[in-house]
Structures are given as C-alpha cells and as structure tokens.
C-alpha cells in the first residue's frame, strides 16, 4: 500500500515528474458486497520537493481517482537532482519516495 512509482525526466528546459501512488481513495459513500458503507480513506495531502525545497503542495478530496496519478513540471532542475514526493491520508498513513532526475 505504501509503494509509489516515480519518474523524473529532463525534457528540454523542464523536468517532467510522473507519480503513480497506490491508494484505495475511498469516498466514504461506497457500499461493500454486504451493503456496509466503506469508511472514507483517501490521500489528503501531497508534497513534492526538489533537492529538499518544496515545489508543490496539493490538497486532495475524495474525488481523485483510486491509485492516484500525478504529473508536474519543474523549471531549473537538472540531471541528478532529487525529487521527493510524500503523501498523507485521512487515516494517518503516509509514504515517501524519491528519485533522481534522468535525461529523457
């Protein structure tokens, strides 16, 4: 559940970061096979850093799809720089992953 797939590639004058998180993103409105409501369980906060400096802070609601996908772009980053992404969900779980920038 706490794994994340990441890629950060230099494409001309920007670095494109793609992230695929593994998370159920339950809205709290879905019923299971027994008719019981499945409690809300979703990522609320995502932060990204470039060499330790914050570049993106995202707040999410329940409307982001299951196994969230995210692409963002960074100016001024170069090959070898480290991009890290951390998420926190509404049940207190968290995961962090980092990756070095490579040439596309």
């Amino acid at each position: 559940m706490d794994n994340m797939k990441m890629r950060a590639q230099l494409k001309g004058d920007y670095v494109e970061v793609k992230v695929l998180m593994s998370h159920p993103m339950e809205t709290g409105r879905r019923k299971d096979d027994f008719g019981q409501l499945v409690p809300a369980h979703f990522v609320q906060l995502v932060t990204a850093t470039l060499n330790g400096k914050t570049v993106l802070e995202a707040q999410w609601g329940t409307g982001v799809s299951k196994n969230p996908y995210l692409t963002f772009r960074l100016k001024g980053a170069k090959v070898g720089d480290i991009v890290a992404v951390t998420w926190h969900d509404n049940q207190g779980a968290t995961a962090t992953q980092d990756i070095g920038v490579t040439q596309a």
Partner: protein, 144 residues
Amino acid sequence: MQRRDFLLGLATFIALMPVKVFAALWNKAAFESVQLKDASKYLNVNAEIPSTDIQIVAPDRAENGAIVQVEVKSNIADTEAIAIFVEKNPTPLIANFIFSNGAEPYVVTRIKMAETSDIKVVIKAGDQYFTNAKNVVVLENGCG
C-alpha cells in the same frame, strides 16, 4: 502527577500531534462542501475572471466516470495555485495544487466524475482569480 500518567499523556500528545498539524493544513470546510459556491468561498475565491489562458485537456465523453484524466496548464503570469472542481460531484472540490520554487503551473491527474458535468478550474495569481471550464459527458457513474 504520577510519572506514569505523565508519560501516558506525553505519548498521547505525541501520537496526536502530527494528525492535528496536518488537519489544520487540509481545508476541511472546502473539501466537504456540497455546493461549488461554498467550496469556492472556503478557498477564499472571489471575483473570478473568465480566461482562455487556462488550458483544460479532458475527454469530451468519458466511458467510465471513475477515471477521467485531466490536464491543466495556466498561461497566466504568476500563477500560484490551480484548483479543480467537478460541479455536479457530491463534493465538488477535487484538488488544490500550490506551486512554488520553479514548479510550472501545470498538472495532470485523474479524477472521479459522478455524472455529466463541467470540470471547473480556478487559478490564483496574486490577489486575482481566473477561471475556465470544460464539459465532460459521463456515460457511467464514477462515484461510489
């Protein structure tokens, strides 16, 4: 105070602390609003200016509302944040992205759509707010 009580109290405090800090950060009122206008209000959005400098790429028709890919790019100078709403979802505010230190005002993500609706984007640039929207026809409900 008993040492044991003190330690127990301390442990509880530490256990609760990160959750509290984090809860303060997450805009609960905005994300739990069932009306788009309320969600906007809690994000402090005022006087939205329609702008075609906001590009929204999403399908015209989505087979499955559970996964609708949206790309948003702002060509507005000094864009600080991109908020994505789905007008007809049970809770319209989907996400709010805040950019800093060289991040471009660009994001791609996948969202849930309960029914055919506008995807509305609101950009924050300084004290001003700009907006654009794209309609997506949803053939199958994506909200559980």
